[in-house]
């Protein structure tokens, strides 16, 4: 089990809480719309060779909210500034769901900010068909259940098993409130992002999608493929929206191979 720490840095005009863990070349991780789920087995697997840098999104209960950030594009711009000020760019990024939306915005604005981009079940583009699941219109319980095809998966139980404490409930509500604030309409995508991404031609990109994903449809991956034709696509069978939780071994193999290439 790798060591990880949580620290607050003064950067980009605010205080940002970061989780750092592992050793090696830095790897930026952008968590999803439910918040950082905690250090789990796939983090350990990669932490042997990479140092994770995991910003806790402003407004999600740890890093203070930034009122001036009113969109995912704004948030991407903020994180870009963070990377510049911390001298971390260019950096590899691995981003999940709404985190993928943020990463895509950052790449669209400045492709040189990343050296590799892994987007797992990314939001951010309107799906070519189907819809992004309206996770704001269901209870948190339904929302969590929607993210996996197998609730018995060990890491899922590790993160969400047991009784939800009042603190956890509050953190979930903070995350959902901030996600609503930024992504309300159009719901979790930006109509111009695909056009901007078409200009990103030299960034090695991997798109990962669980075939049972009930939150982000295959149509989102199609949209990303259209915008970035050179992107690799890996579909993982028998997992839902969170392949890193449901099948961490396969997920890790795929990610490691890509980052090494």
């Amino acid at each position: 089990m790798a060591n990880w720490t949580e620290e607050t840095v003064k950067v980009a005009g605010t205080e940002l809480v970061l989780v750092r863990g592992g050793a090696g070349r830095p790897l930026l991780m952008l968590h999803d719309e439910l918040g950082y789920p905690g250090w789990v087995s796939w983090n350990d697997a990669l932490a042997e060779e990479r140092e994770f840098i995991i910003p806790l999104q402003p407004g999600f209960g740890k890093s203070p909210r930034l009122d001036w950030v009113r969109s995912y594009r704004d948030l991407g711009g903020f994180y870009a500034r963070v990377l510049r000020e911390m001298n971390l760019a260019p950096i590899d990024v691995i981003a999940f769901s709404a985190g993928g939306y943020i990463a895509a915005e950052m790449a669209a604005s400045d492709p040189h900010i990343f050296s590799h981009m892994v987007l797992s079940a990314p939001m951010g583009l309107k799906p070519t068909e189907g819809e992004i699941f309206d996770f704001l219109a269901v209870t948190i319980r339904t929302c969590l259940m929607q993210t996996v095809s197998n609730p018995e998966a060990p890491d899922f139980a590790k993160i969400y098993g047991g009784e939800m404490t009042p603190e956890q409930f509050e953190l979930f509500e903070d995350a959902r409130a901030e996600t609503a604030r930024l992504g309300w309409e159009p719901f979790m995508y930006n109509p111009s992002l695909g056009h901007l991404l078409e200009g990103v031609t030299q960034l090695p990109t991997l798109l990962i999608w669980g075939q049972e994903d009930a939150v982000v449809p295959r149509g989102c991956i199609d949209a990303y493929q259209k915008a970035i034709p050179s992107a690799q696509v890996v579909e993982i069978p028998r997992v839902g929206h969170r392949p890193e939780v449901e099948d961490p071994e396969t997920f890790m193999q795929v990610v490691k191979a890509f980052l090494a290439s």
């Binding site: 704001l136 969590l144 959902r176 604030r181």
Partner: protein
């Protein structure tokens, strides 16, 4: 004391099972809409309001909801405009325009000004945040609900009082040319009364603005606490709160006999009543609640959201009821709830003889300057509704108005809210009387 009549203008032709199956009114499919019955009832409810005027009510109240058969008032200003023309004396009380969901405060200012003009100054505006489900229906960002409410309110007051053309660039609203030629009849603008259900934040905002706060049938103990919060805040702003600052609305149904009243009054619980207005996922959208409210919710041991153990994660919680639910059992439970609600004085049902003392208790405890009867929901005939309203007006209203005079429940037209000065160091006068609560077991 002002006495008003309110109805949600419920859809009366829908089978109750459709609501029970959906576990709530919001999101029951509009495939059940019936244009003939809807046309009949929109017209009937307007006639009902005219009848209220004939009978001597001081005001008729309207509200607005979207996307559910609990309330047909989807565009309340349309009904208010019609009443402005077809009534002559009653105040038209809006409880209220949902500012954040309509997202166009300049249009709101124009609409309401026209209503005030046509009625020659009988409009009472009211502002609400809009229930959770309204945010979904109108695609209004719940995270910005309170900001939009505040900004829209401030803008409307300016639009009504600052000569134009002028330009406005706010956070949520932008108007490059503000110069409305429909301005209110009442000067500087219509009175503003704010309805609510136990939000301390809203109450403090009201006290600061000297707006009367209308409690919507909230339980007595917590309502007293809320009134105290208002009064404390009022003192910070240099005035003594009194009955002119408070209103109360209560579900009430009357009939000639107790049996008939009980039987028909049960329709308040039709479809689950107010508690089934919308499912949890629609009631509290993310961002809608303040941090403090979320924290309170999180610490309640039996909230719908807590206890997400691995076992409970297996149960679906969003969505309609599965097939195979016994709705007769559900109905029995609702009947029990209806009885309890009467015991708590949150629903008042009976003959004038039994209703008058209960209303007097409410008046004694909460001391409101505005009292509003909320007519029955569900499927009650025109005739029975009108009888109830007639008994309210002819038998209950005189008795309670006399009592109100006795205990000095002045209304906002008799005494301007905020006009009674109070120093910070002085002990403020109480605004409620909790004594009857203990006797009723309602502490």
């Amino acid at each position: 004391m002002q006495v008003a009549h309110f109805t949600e203008r419920p859809v009366r032709y829908l089978h109750e099972d459709e609501v029970l199956k959906n576990r709530a009114y919001f999101a029951v499919s509009n495939r059940h809409f019936d244009r003939e019955k809807a046309a009949d009832d929109y017209n009937y409810y307007l006639d009902e309001a005219c009848y209220c005027e004939e009978l001597g009510f001081d005001g008729v109240a309207l509200n607005e909801h979207h996307g559910n058969p609990f309330c047909m008032g989807n565009v309340m200003n349309v009904e208010a405009a019609i009443l402005a023309r077809i009534t002559n004396r009653v105040r038209i009380i809006l409880i209220g325009n949902p500012l954040p969901t309509i997202k166009h405060p300049l249009r709101m200012a124009e609409e309401l000004a026209e209503i005030d003009l046509i009625s020659r100054g009988r409009l009472i505006t009211g502002w609400v945040r809009g229930a959770g489900s309204e945010q979904f229906f109108n695609n209004a960002n719940p995270a910005y609900n309170r900001e939009m409410f505040n900004e829209a309110h401030d803008f409307i007051v300016q639009a009504w009082t600052k000569p134009g053309p002028w330009r406005y660039e706010g956070k949520h609203f932008h108007y490059r040319h503000v110069n409305p030629w429909a301005l209110p009849y009442q000067q500087p603008h219509p009175p503003m009364w704010i309805p609510g259900v136990l939000s301390p934040e809203t109450v403090r905002w009201c006290a600061e603005h000297r707006y009367p706060y209308i409690g919507l049938g909230t339980s007595l103990g917590p309502t007293c606490d809320l009134w105290d919060i208002y009064a404390e805040e009022a003192q910070k702003h240099g005035y003594q709160a009194g009955p002119e600052n408070f209103g109360y609305l209560i579900p009430t149904f009357l009939a000639e006999t107790e049996d008939k009243a009980q039987k028909l009054g049960r329709q308040f619980a039709f479809g689950g009543g107010q508690n089934a207005f919308s499912r949890p996922e629609h009631t509290l959208p993310p961002g809608y609640n303040s941090k403090a409210a979320i924290r309170r919710l999180a610490s309640q041991p039996r909230g719908s959201w807590l206890g997400v153990s691995r076992d409970k994660l297996m149960q679906q919680r969003s969505g309609a009821n599965p097939d195979g639910v016994n709705y007769d059992e559900v109905r029995d439970k609702l009947t029990q709830g209806y009885q309890r609600s009467q015991e708590n004085l949150q629903t008042i049902v009976g003959t004038p003889k039994t209703v008058i003392p209960k209303v007097k208790t409410l008046l004694r405890v909460l001391r409101p300057g505005i009292f509003t009867f909320f007519s029955v929901q569900g499927q009650v005939s025109n005739e029975d509704r009108l009888t109830s309203i007639r008994l309210m007006a002819e038998e209950v209203m005189p008795a309670i108005k006399e009592y109100a005079k006795e205990i000095e429940l002045v209304d906002p037209f008799e005494r301007e809210p905020g006009s009674v000065k109070l120093q910070a160091e002085t002990q403020r006068a109480p605004v409620v009387d909790r004594e009857p609560l203990a006797a009723l077991g309602l502490v």
